[in-house]
Subunit: 393 residues, 2 copies
């Protein structure tokens, strides 16, 4: 599948970002808009304390139609009660006024500190004039929604259309900590000019998110703001839904890896593949246990060939069918566990594998045909440093 590098928004979509005064400096408000209303679907966090934008967003996406997304960073508008809900609605209303569209077609997201009031006046005044700034580079909008991300994130892929002209799919996301999505990742928006109806978008989005963003864990902590929305404005005409699902899978998988690699404090990407489980569900449990284990994550960080920890992390999944003597594991293709025991290997070779930019850990349980993949990152001093003073700094 063709990847656009640099990424660009599909036809009819544009975005902008400004500094509206929530952060001390840098863009903190982003706006994404389509020239025409788009079919839409979205999934949201399952956390019991969803932010006000989630409460409003769940209602709004029921219509299956959206035309714009407005996002602020620094303050998440979570745990803010009825005032928070009113602020979320006001934020969408201000964006709708600026774009001269129906406010029911605007989805809003907020990300940042939990439990403090949203400075809605700053957002309203920041939105004034943003329509004139709209342009086609998705990284501009991505920059306006960053919190601890070290860089803005966007990916574009092409989807073959029936009559030659390809459609474009672009995924824009942010997320670096509090990342263990449950039904969606931190904040991710997929825009396409392909034409698909809302029920199809909803079904495809749920399947793809389950295999990609929901298998990402930076720190096991599930955000109260997780949102993943998909807007299809149809300007490029219809596409085969199977081709579309393949494109969305590719883009979301690439974005999942981009998010994992930029996890708070992360110095490398950890990709885990589990095969041979009794079921796919059991494979997912083991894959998550491996990417989430602090002892696996620190082993990767230090390039320490302490591979017995792989046995520990597989073995702690006590409700999963495991036959210890049939467990095999490789790191970057090198056998490190054979028949449930540490394999013979050269420490220096394994150390070199652990110090690669991408560490691939593959485990075969040998009991069935269940498979899963999960993504995470190493655990470093940087994670501790960022999160021991996030509120205060």
């Amino acid at each position: 599948m063709l990847r656009h590098d640099p990424p660009r928004l599909p036809q009819g979509f544009r975005c902008a970002a400004v500094h509206c005064g929530l952060k001390d400096a840098g863009e903190d408000l982003a706006l994404f808009a389509s020239s025409v209303p788009a079919a839409a679907a979205a999934v949201f966090t399952r956390n019991h304390f969803p932010g006000a934008p989630i409460l409003v967003g769940r209602e709004r996406v029921r219509s299956g139609r959206l035309q714009a997304v407005v996002v602020n960073s620094k303050v998440s508008n979570v745990g803010t009660g009825p005032e928070g809900v009113a602020a979320a609605r006001a934020m969408a209303r201000a964006a709708a006024r600026e774009l001269d569209i129906d406010e029911a077609l605007v989805l809003m997201s907020s990300t940042g500190v939990i439990g403090v009031p949203l400075p809605i006046e700053r957002i309203e005044s920041g939105l004034r004039g943003m329509a004139a700034l709209l342009q086609a580079d998705p990284l501009v909008g991505a920059r306006g929604m960053m919190t601890t991300d070290s860089h803005p994130k966007a990916i574009s892929v092409e989807i073959e259309g029936p009559d030659g002209d390809p459609a474009v799919l672009t995924v824009v996301a942010k997320g670096s900590g509090m990342i263990a999505p449950n039904m969606a990742t931190m904040l991710a928006y997929a825009f396409t000019d392909a034409r698909l109806d809302a029920p199809t978008l909803d079904a495809v989005l749920r399947r793809v998110v389950a295999r990609t963003f929901n298998m990402l864990s930076v720190d096991t902590d599930t955000s109260t703001s997780d949102t993943c929305a998909l807007l299809a404005n149809g300007l490029a005409g219809p596409v085969d839904p199977l081709h579309f699902e393949a494109a969305l899978t590719e883009a979301c998988e690439a974005m999942t890896e981009m998010l994992a690699r930029d996890g708070e404090g992360a110095t490398r990407l950890l990709r885990v593949v589990v095969r041979g489980a009794a079921t796919d569900a059991e494979a997912r449990v083991v894959a998550r246990a491996l990417v989430e284990s602090p002892l696996i994550k620190t082993m990767v960080h230090g390039g320490d060939p302490n591979v017995g920890r792989i046995l520990m992390a597989v073995g702690k999944c006590v409700d999963v069918a495991v036959d210890p003597e049939r467990v095999h594991a490789t790191l970057g293709g090198l056998p490190v566990v054979a028949g449930g025991r540490r394999a013979e290997f050269d420490d220096g070779t394994v150390r070199a594998t652990l110090l690669l930019d991408t560490v691939e850990l593959s485990v075969d349980l040998g009991v069935g045909s269940g498979e899963a993949r999960a993504w995470g990152c190493d655990l470093s001093r940087g994670y501790v440093d960022e999160n021991a003073a996030y509120y205060s700094s």
Copy 2:
């Protein structure tokens, strides 16, 4: 209940420790022995890759009788196959020979790196002459089984006997990382001169461990070596089983806090109390989520009053009954969450509470009468540093 400070072993029990050459320096082999056979019970890890000592120990404790425990540190004898099981048996045999007792009465434990062969010859030669070193201070034995622990750990309490003379209960333990026990903690041995039968010991031990060691989490990673054994040699005569259970609960709870406070890299103890859950089981899920959350742990480490993270961590327990508007939380008694929202508080006061040696987080879910407590610690650079080079150093 009377605590002995310094702790001492109950009558008839003695211990010793030596350096046998597993570590570069320091004691690495401990022996605990009773002058007479004791009634005994034990619980072991539920990890799918139990160490060889667990496999042999499970068989051995079925008789309900033990007289000695031999423990080495540095190498855990896990993932070592039939040779590992033979080495575990040889370790017990050597201890039995030295003590001149039946080898079936010796429980053995190994703790340290997973997946490397146990240097059994060093242990056998280390055991020679240890009988002559046996003495009454439990901290001496505790020192021989330390891995990353910063100090040896033992607690003694008295149990009132029916005829005036109290019995003594002493718990000796080690454990600092890979601590999220499941049926037992890393390594803990309880010795008492009270007289109780093995079935009573077994029932009491399981109840107490469920409320204490099993609610401890340093890093969510469940060891392959977890063992908690209880030996009662009866020399002080019978005691009321209810008094005994109270004493064991007190000692194990105090030891749980001692282990949490000495968690790898820990600078303070985090004690979580959850009330008002639908059931005790649901309270346990929430209590564990709170002590295990990296974002709560780093908040405590940095003294950062980012209390919205409490909502996040309660809320991510998606299978637990939570009514967001009825959730209240306090830190060191100070209200920080009220009715599911951040309470009004002074940042400096909360910061001061978070920087205390013991941080007590209390959450009331307001939906029922289920309760639980859990123990953990903050997450620091020290945890990363220790675990990024554990094998290599």
